[in-house]
Symmetry: D2
Subunit: 335 residues, 4 copies
């Protein structure tokens, strides 16, 4: 039995994580923390009524170390690294949902996230929690940087093709469409129901923080400098991301080569499905799957991938990483 | 040409009002006010880009009197009466969207809304802006209490039947379903997209402030003490209210009697459609119509009515009242 | 290991059933049938890609008996009884999703469903698959009538109060709101996306076939003649039913009595949660829970209950029944 | 007063057209046709109850010529040209919503639409009904090819930049997101509510018939061979299209040049709004506006445009064309 604590337990990713962990036969959730300490967790997540009996608490590093073997941090960036660093030092294993340990260096972090990084030494040395490409590192890690939701969908569609030199690493365009839960659970006018419903819009064009994450991880995987343009869009649905990426084929690349690369790459990956029909987010929502497909259109390669942003794009991936870190079968609690 | 000013212009009802007024051939919108004074109105309502060129302002009674012949107040209750009273006294005509002048007496107001009424003398003497029943009063009024969204749908379905003694005034149950725009445009966690989407819930059971409004206005129309129970529900859509009301027939009431009463009552009412098929909110949304129908089921009368909560339930009714107060044809800008 | 076959596997309830059964440690799905025999199941349910490897087949009673210990019939009424009767006779256990065995007698069936009942002898003798009230019968049954989606939500909210003589069995009004998946997966103009989206409507007022099911089962449970009026509404969401029921209290019934009755009745029921706050369908969707609460408003009792129409209202209940029929823990595959 | 007839009046575009025309002071709708001849139009469009009193009819060319000065054809491709050709020959003016007269030659038509063109002589000689670029031709035309919904959004965003040599005509990528009404009002499983809701998907990748329309019209406007890749996506909302297009800047193109080109091009166009903030479809839905903006991201030009697919993308454009063809102010009935 592994004891786990969840930091920042009031948001959507924490709720999904708790629901997954309640299905995990070898896990006991022993603490949930929040600035709203004192409330029972069912007060913020009525779905959990009768399913878990914990109050939200405010806990020190020592208290967490007493209670848990593993900590999942759903705290915002910067706050997360500040909290997580001493936990790692005290010997706990940590899955960090924030962006604090995803980028390759402190300079990138400070350029895209601002401020000073609270734990610069671990930046660039922390495994990126995408088991499809970094499983060996994850298995032995005490700290894993859980990937961003958009990056997961983009990287899973592009990395096998880049790695196999089937597409050019330059001028890749990623046009992503996400449900609204990706914007978090904070009261903001822009995500009120009547503002988002029956509307599509682009946001953060050319400025979204997942753009450098995508290109840096694609570089890490493919070993070549990669340039991507990323445009996220908000779509009126709760969950799901679909990423349509446009890249240029190298040489005589055809659809068969591309599918072959996908199949070879994901043969042993339980949560990536290489599909022939065009995928719909409805078929991956509430699962940990990412569905990927590819088409050649004129002189372009069009890849399409989709996932549940809260599962494979967040909490499902976190459980996958947890399973690897603690020696459980990778799919436990995820099927 | 009538000059109009709109107070509290940043919300959903104000936006609809402005859009209607832009279609009114004899109206010039001369001022829009808000605590966010300074911004161009297109900054808060991008829909209005290139359609109206006004900044949000903070204006005194005198400034409003200089600028406008008619004021529409979309301010919250209490704030509205405080602002509106001096405007009426300075000779302006006012349509008040708040609940401040809807109830029959100050005691009711203070019971349901709390606080002290800022303008008690006009309470109980202000016409209720439902032209289908109070047209004569509205035509000569300088102040009109624009009805609540739920009450309009409930009253239009029940008043003709009560007035004609076809149903009992006791034990009427009104079960209403509303889109989320009715909850306003303020950032609250409860109306975030992922909280409301794909979910239905009841709220304010037995405690909603529209309950006394419905029963008091039904009494005013039918001349008999009326007792209603009102349960509002939130439904995942932007606009529209559907009210299903259950009452007991008197004597040998049958569907023909009920439809006859509807037809007789609404013969000259351009915005109430007595329909035979069961109505859908999709067919009244973006219009000023209220569709009503009725069925006898076992020993109960079931009326069903629907409207756009922002139009017939708010801004459309306001324009209808405005047209009557200023001598324009009742349907101007509304078809 | 129990071998199960699913008849009529192309619809929404069958899909949910398959997904649940894939989580059941002691179940092997050995056949899925359909008139579309020949296709792989992933062609009609892309969600199941890589999760189950079966083709849709057309199978005789004998073939089914060879392949399965238990059959779930998702066939339409009449077709279901015709198919199910010989299966039961050949010794298989059957959970029937159709309405064929839910009503108390053939006369009711023929009044509400028309036609001649294909298996009249089992009508009125088949346990109604609501384990909260009929567990003993289910445990020993070879055929169970899985409840209708609306009846489950209504009965769970009303039965404990009727049974305890807290509310009158006369004049009960049930106003239900359902997501669109309840209308099935057949191409019809009325359930096209643009027809349902952003709209609420009532349908089948006074004529819905779940009305007699609700009153007959309430009678069976409470032992007294019960009269209900049932009005279903279609709400723009995929899944979920919320039922608001209005009844008259008997004697000095108060909220405490009502909650006490709920708590006493559901103490040992793992899938009914008696909740204090007003429930939202979002908190039960994708679960097998039904959340119930109650309020006294003036001289009425208002109960509110909600469930996922495809789970507790269909496939989740079916698995619960299956677990009981085969001696598995009631909650297996359902938490 | 101009008399107009609408062919194929049961779909979504016809409904919007009728609603617009009911606001047109100089128009009388004198006939609506359909294969469902006999029904009152309110039976298929309950929104029109009490607003227009016409039965659906089946009419010959002669009967149409007797009744109407102008015909709007909402018939499917091929059927439309067959019906429209004799109407034009009999001297009527026609706005054709189908694709029959949009492409430059019969070869393109037959490649993308199949079959034999029923009226080949008018192909390539019919004005394309985009008044922003072809007003002079439209004014004098007896037949106008009303543009496709996707092409309008894409062309309005790209044409001014191509025409001014600010972007390269090669390798333009158009990634569009559309509401479901674009799929029409025919019962198909793929557009059932539960299939589309809470899901995004791409469709027709590399094969959509609007791809050649976009490139051919961009060529007609810019005078240079233009190559586009077009990927449509279905988004869970009723109405609205947002097109995100990626192209390569020529020379020292910067955002200021791009906005200048937009402003110069659309200075006198009442229905194209050049906006600075990123546009949302919610702000153009139910209007005839197309909002366009542009960003330079790294070495790409990203244009974003949005419109209501049923208005500026169909019926609004048709009314705009009608106004020009009959000498009414371009904006009549459209503001």
């Amino acid at each position: 039995m592994t004891h786990v604590a969840i930091l920042g337990a009031t948001g959507y990713t924490a709720l999904e994580l708790i629901k997954l962990m309640l299905r995990h036969p070898d896990v006991d959730i022993t603490a949930v923390t929040s600035r709203q300490a004192g409330d029972h967790i069912r007060a913020v997540h009525p779905q959990l009524t009768d399913r878990i009996d914990l109050n939200l608490e405010s806990l020190s590093t020592e208290q967490l170390a007493d209670r848990a073997d593993c900590v999942f941090s759903c705290l915002p960036h910067a706050a997360s690294a500040s909290t997580v660093a001493p936990l790692v030092e005290s010997g706990m294993k940590v899955v960090d949902f924030s962006a604090d340990y995803r980028l390759r260096d402190v300079a990138s972090y400070e350029k895209w996230y601002g401020g000073t990084h609270p734990d610069p030494d671990r930046v660039g040395k922390t495994p990126y929690g995408l088991p499809e490409f970094f499983k060996d590192d994850i298995v032995t890690a005490s700290l894993v940087a859980n990937p961003g939701c958009y990056p997961t969908s983009a990287i899973l569609a592009l990395a096998p093709l880049l790695k196999n030199n089937l597409i050019s690493p330059d001028g890749i365009i990623i046009d992503s469409k996400s449900g609204v839960s990706g914007a978090g659970r904070t009261a903001k006018m822009g995500t009120l129901y009547p503002e988002c419903n029956e509307s599509v819009s682009a946001y953060g064009v050319g400025r979204h923080r997942h753009m450098p994450e995508i290109s840096q991880i694609l570089e890490r995987i493919s070993g070549q400098s990669t340039d991507v343009i990323f445009t996220p869009h908000l779509v009126p649905m709760n969950r799901g991301i679909l990423s349509t990426a446009y890249s240029r084929p190298i040489g005589s690349t055809n659809e068969k080569n591309l599918f072959d690369a996908f199949h070879a790459c994901y043969e042993d990956c339980p949560f990536v499905r290489v599909v022939t029909p065009l995928p719909h987010t409805r078929d991956v929502v509430n699962t940990n799957y990412c569905d990927v497909t590819v088409r050649v259109v004129k002189d372009l390669v069009v890849t399409i991938s989709c996932e549940d942003n809260l599962l494979k794009g967040a909490s499902g991936a976190a459980v996958q990483n947890f399973n690897l870190m603690f020696g459980y079968p990778e799919t436990t609690a995820l099927l």
